[in-house]
């Protein structure tokens, strides 16, 4: 699929909760090239953390597996795909309901998908029982114009000038 996006990266790691911090920091570092605000970056880190945690504790549970992350940049939109080959979700619609959790014993709140939905622009979840789950999220990074200044050129026409 080369050529369709402007930049991409792929990441694979063991399904250990100790990798959650690594995963969100790695995605944030890659996305930094779009010059996001601290808020935009925090939104992305939170959403990545939620999806990765789901893969580790719900997808694989006590078994060990691999979590994959793919990030693509299309001009100023980022697309993040987080997938596992775990046990899958029986009913995605129910799993996505706020406060629904299959693991209340782990003090899970059931807010993971709701947070992903609220912090990203778009989310799509595909899952097949016994095969795994894939979460695709998109977010547009607003281009910054603070360094640009509206100036008047000699012939009186307004134009943007980079300072």
């Amino acid at each position: 699929m080369k050529g369709l996006c402007d930049n991409e990266m792929k990441l694979e790691f063991s399904s250990k909760t100790s990798n959650e911090a690594f995963a969100r920091v790695a995605v944030a570092a890659f996305v930094a090239q779009l010059d996001p605000t601290i808020d935009e970056l925090s939104d992305i880190k939170t959403a990545v953390s939620e999806a990765v945690t789901n893969s580790i504790i719900h997808g694989y549970g006590d078994e060990e597996g691999t979590v994959k992350i793919e990030v693509k940049i299309y001009i100023n939109t980022i697309e993040i795909e987080i997938s596992d080959s775990g046990k899958g979700i029986e009913d995605v619609e129910i799993a996505m309901r706020p406060l629904y959790t299959s693991k209340p014993d782990l003090e899970r709140s059931g807010m993971g998908f709701t947070i992903m939905e609220s912090f990203m622009d778009e989310i799509k979840v595909e899952s097949a029982l016994g095969f795994g789950t894939k979460v695709k999220m998109k977010k547009k990074i607003e281009p910054k114009q603070q360094e640009d200044e509206l100036t008047n050129t000699e012939d009186g026409e307004a134009s943007w000038k980079r300072i």
Partner: protein, 112 residues
């Protein structure tokens, strides 16, 4: 985590100084519960000013400690919650159950 017990008023102040995700929440709740059980305080203040990252794992962590403190007959309060944490607590309904005191906006304006 930094824990401070103020004898006067039997208040236990617990300041979390790490990122809160599923990985750290496990250890954190054990440490927090231990402190709460040791002092059996009348009031527990959870200070969030040292939290640099929190995902939904923070919801369960906070609610679990709230339940424990209530069970022991104490009061529970959360202070120094930033905008993002507030949003997560509002979305999950935590703010309707637990007293949350935000970071003072005026103080932080221009610093952020």
């Amino acid at each position: 985590m930094i824990s401070e017990y103020v004898k006067e008023g039997k208040t236990l102040i617990l300041r979390i100084t790490e990122e809160v995700d599923q990985h750290t929440a496990d250890k954190l709740r054990r440490k927090l519960d231990n402190e709460i059980e040791v002092y059996s305080p009348q009031k527990v203040i959870l200070d969030c000013s040292g939290i640099t990252f929190m995902d939904s794992s923070g919801i369960g962590m906070v609610l679990g400690r709230y339940k424990l403190v209530k069970m022991l007959g104490g009061n529970f309060e959360i202070i120094n919650v930033n905008k993002r944490m507030k949003k997560i607590f509002d979305m999950s309904g935590v703010s309707r159950i637990i007293t949350i005191i935000d970071e003072e906006e005026e103080e932080n304006e221009g610093v952020m």
